[in-house]
C-alpha cells in the first residue's frame, strides 16, 4: 500500500450520465439468423488497410481469409459465412466516409472452411506462435478503437510489461454487450486472459468492472478463483473504461502524457477481445462475429445479439422487431463516443459495440453560445486539459495555441460537451484542431 500513499483514490474528473442500460441488461445474448448477404468492410483496424484476395464470383467458406494484411499494424479479414463473393462495393462507413466492402451472398449452408488449426496445447506453444495466431485470426481491440491486438502484445524490447488489465468497465451508457458476455461466457474471457498473459510472460492479471454490474462481478469472482485473476470493482463514473483511467483505477499508475499503457508496464484488453483470443487459439476460429447491443427508446425489443461482421444496421434492427417513437438519431456505438449515422446501410465491424436509436425526447436541437468561463469542462476533463481554452482556440483557428495546451492528449470522451451550459460542441472543435495539427505534422514529416 505504501507506494500508493498520497495518491488520489479515483481518477480525476468524469461525469455520470443517465446510463439507460436497464433497457437491455437483462436480455441474454441471442444468436442471429443467417441473412442473405453480408457486406464486410475491408479495413476493420487502425493502421494499414488490408488487401482483398477474393474477386467477384469466388466461392468462399465461413472463416476463410478474404483480405490479407499488408503491414505490421494491419489484420486480415475473414468471411462471416459461406457463399459467393458478389463484388467489392462502396458502402457508408461508420465514420461517415464511404468505404470499400466485400459483398458475400450467403448460400445458406454456413459451411466452415477456416485454415486455422485448434491449439489445445497452447501452454506448450511458443509466444511468437500464439501472437502469429492472434494476428492470423484478425483480432483487434473490440472495445471501440480496433487497434490490432498482436501489436499491443509485441512491445519493444526496452519496455517491461508486468500487468494485464481486462476492461469490463463498459462505462458507455446504453451498451450491455460486454456485460452480457461476462455473465454468460466467463470461462472464455478468463482463459483468453490467461493466453494473453502467457504470451507476454506475466502473471498479474486484473479485470476491472464498474459497480453497476454486480451480477457480472459475482460470476467472474466465482470463476476467477482457480485462475489467480483478481476482479476489481470500479466506481461508476464515465469514462472509467478509457485506457488511461482504467489503469489508474486498477494500479494507481499514470501513463505519461502522449504515452502508451506500455510506458507504465500495462497492457489493456477488452473482455470481448480476450474471449475472441480464446476462440482463435483454442478453437481455431477467426474473428467473424461479435456481440452487439441494439438499444434505445426507439427500438421495439432492445437486446444483445451475436452478429456476423458485415450485417447491415437495417438487418440488425429487424432482429429487434423494428423501430417505434420516431427515431431521431442513429448512433453506432454509445451516446458519448459513438458516431451519428445518416444511413442504415452501415455494417457491423469488429468494433461495433452497439446500435443506438434515440427518439426526439432523448436528443435536442440547441444553439451553441459563447463560453462563459465557468470552468465546468475543466473540472470534468479526465485528461486534465482545459477544454474551454482549446475550443476557443479551435474556433479562432489558433491551432498552435491548441497544440501548446496539449489538445493531442484529448481522447474525445465528450465529458466537456456533456456539462457545457453554453452547449458548445466542444468535441467537434477539438477534433477539428486535432485533425489540423496531425495534417500539419504529416506535412512537416514529408518535407
Amino acid at each position: 500500500m505504501s507506494e500508493n500513499q498520497g495518491k488520489r483514490k479515483y481518477f480525476r474528473g468524469g461525469v455520470h450520465p443517465h446510463d439507460g442500460k436497464a433497457l437491455s441488461a437483462k436480455n441474454s445474448i441471442n444468436e442471429a439468423p443467417l441473412f442473405d448477404k453480408y457486406q464486410v468492410v475491408l479495413q476493420q483496424n487502425i493502421g494499414a488497410p488490408p488487401k482483398a484476395i477474393v474477386k467477384k464470383g469466388d466461392v468462399v467458406l465461413k472463416g476463410q481469409m478474404i483480405a490479407e494484411s499488408t503491414g505490421f499494424v494491419c489484420t486480415p479479414v475473414h468471411a462471416p459465412t459461406s457463399g459467393v463473393v458478389s463484388g467489392i462495393v462502396e458502402i457508408p462507413g461508420a465514420m461517415g466516409q464511404s468505404v470499400k466492402a466485400i459483398e458475400i451472398a450467403s448460400d445458406g449452408e454456413d459451411k466452415w472452411g477456416s485454415s486455422l488449426k485448434p491449439m489445445k496445447d497452447w501452454e506448450q506453444r511458443d509466444d511468437s506462435e500464439i501472437k502469429q495466431r492472434i494476428h492470423d485470426a484478425g483480432i483487434v481491440g473490440m472495445g471501440g478503437a480496433a487497434f490490432p491486438t498482436h501489436v499491443k502484445l509485441s512491445p519493444p524490447e526496452n519496455k517491461n510489461i508486468d500487468y494485464l488489465i481486462l476492461n469490463g468497465a463498459e462505462c458507455e451508457p446504453y451498451l450491455t454487450a460486454d456485460h452480457r458476455l461476462m455473465i454468460e461466457d466467463p470461462e472464455r474471457i478468463l482463459k483468453g486472459a490467461l493466453i494473453i498473459a502467457n504470451s507476454l510472460n506475466i502473471n498479474k492479471i486484473a479485470i476491472g468492472i464498474e459497480k453497476n454490474k454486480p451480477d457480472a462481478i459475482k460470476i467472474l469472482k466465482k470463476h476467477s478463483a482457480d485462475y489467480g485473476i483478481s476482479i476489481v470493482p470500479l466506481r461508476m463514473m464515465y469514462p472509467q473504461g478509457a485506457e488511461k483511467q482504467l489503469i489508474y483505477s486498477v494500479t494507481k499508475r499514470k501513463v505519461p502524457a502522449g504515452g502508451l499503457p506500455m510506458d507504465c508496464g500495462c497492457v489493456v484488453q477488452n473482455v470481448a477481445t480476450a474471449a475472441a483470443v480464446y476462440d482463435a487459439v483454442v478453437k481455431g476460429q477467426p474473428l467473424i462475429e461479435r456481440v452487439t447491443t441494439i438499444t434505445g427508446n426507439s427500438v421495439v425489443n432492445p437486446g444483445n445479439w451475436r452478429l456476423k461482421l458485415g450485417t447491415t444496421a437495417l438487418d440488425a434492427l429487424k432482429l429487434a422487431s423494428g423501430v417505434k417513437n420516431n427515431p431521431a438519431k442513429i448512433i453506432m456505438g454509445g451516446p458519448m463516443m459513438g458516431f451519428a449515422q445518416k444511413s442504415l446501410m452501415v455494417t457491423i465491424t469488429k468494433n461495433s459495440s452497439g446500435i443506438l436509436l434515440l427518439d426526439k425526447e432523448d436528443t435536442s436541437i440547441y444553439e451553441s453560445r459563447q463560453c462563459i468561463n465557468c470552468k465546468g469542462c475543466v473540472d470534468v476533463c479526465p485528461m486534465n486539459l482545459t477544454p474551454s481554452v482549446l475550443s476557443k482556440a479551435a474556433v479562432k483557428e489558433n491551432f498552435d495555441i491548441a497544440e501548446r495546451f496539449n489538445v493531442m492528449d484529448c481522447m474525445e470522451c465528450g465529458c466537456c460537451a456533456y456539462v457545457c451550459p453554453s452547449r458548445r460542441p466542444m468535441v467537434q472543435h477539438l477534433r477539428l484542431a486535432k485533425g489540423k495539427i496531425l495534417a500539419k505534422r504529416r506535412a512537416q514529416q514529408n518535407k
Binding site: 462502396e90 457508408p92 465514420m95 461517415g96 466516409q97 464511404s98 431521431a328 438519431k329 458516431f339 451519428a340 449515422q341 445518416k342 436541437i365 440547441y366 451553441s368 474556433v395 460542441p425 467537434q428 472543435h429 477534433r431 477539428l432 485533425g435 489540423k436
Partner: protein, 274 residues
Amino acid sequence: MFETILFSIILMAAVCLLLGVLIGFAVKIFAVQVDPRIEEIEELLPGANCGGCGKAGCSDFAKALVAGEAMPSGCPVAGKALLEEVAKVLGVDAETGEKQIALVRCGGDRSSSSRSELYNGVNDCASAMLIAGGPKGCSYGCLGFASCARACPFNAIEMVDGLAIVHEDLCVGCGKCLTACPRDLIILRPQSAKVNVYCNSPAKGAQKRKICSVACIGCRKCFKVAEENIEMKGFLATVNYDNPPQEDIIEEAKCPTGCLSTTTTLLKKFHSHD
C-alpha cells in the same frame, strides 16, 4: 545672466552642428541601395495582399519580381493591361496567359439534393465533415457552410440556398478558396470556358440520382456531341479545359439533369426563386 544664456545657445548650436555633420556622413557611408523599381511596381500591383502569388503580400511579390525570382504573370489578380505595365518597368515580356478563375463543381442546392436537416454542430465545412461526413446526402458535393466564401478576400463567392457559386466577374483566381474547401471541390479554370459540369461525384448514375436531381448521371450525351471538348471519367463527364466547349453545346447535348451549364444560368435559376 546674459552671458550664461549666450553661452548655452552657442554650446547647443555647436553640438547640433557637430551631430548634423556626423549624421550627414553616416547617411552617405551606410546608405542602403533600394531599387526604385520595387516601389514603382508595388504601386502598380493591386494591393489586395491576397497571397495568390505565393508570396507574403504585394510588397514581397514586388521584391521577388525585381530580384528576378518571379514573373509578372505570377500575380493572378492583375489584368492583362496591368501586367504589361509591370513588365515594361521590369523590361521583360509580360507572358500573359489566360486568366484563371475558381469553379465550384457542384450544383446541388437545398431543393435539389438531399441533406439531413438535423445537423446541429459548428457552421464550418471542415467541422461538419467530422460528423457522419457532413449532413449532405452526397459525400462529394458542396456542404454549404460557406468556408470558401469566408476565405475569399474579394467577396466573389455567393452562398445560394446551401450552395457556393463563384461570381465570374468578381473572382480573380487567387486560389484561396481551393484550400478552404475540405472536399477539394473547387478548381481553377480559364475564364473563357463558360460551360462547366457542375458535379464532382464519381459514384454510379443511379446512386447519384437517388440523392441529387442535378448530378451528372454519366449518360454521355454531351460526350457524343463534342468528343474533343468533353472527357468521360467513369460516370462523370468533365470539361477538357485545354479545349473548352462553346456555349451552344448546352442546347445540342440536352443534358437531362442540367448539370452541364454556365454560372450565369445557375445564378439566374437560383435568384428566380426569390
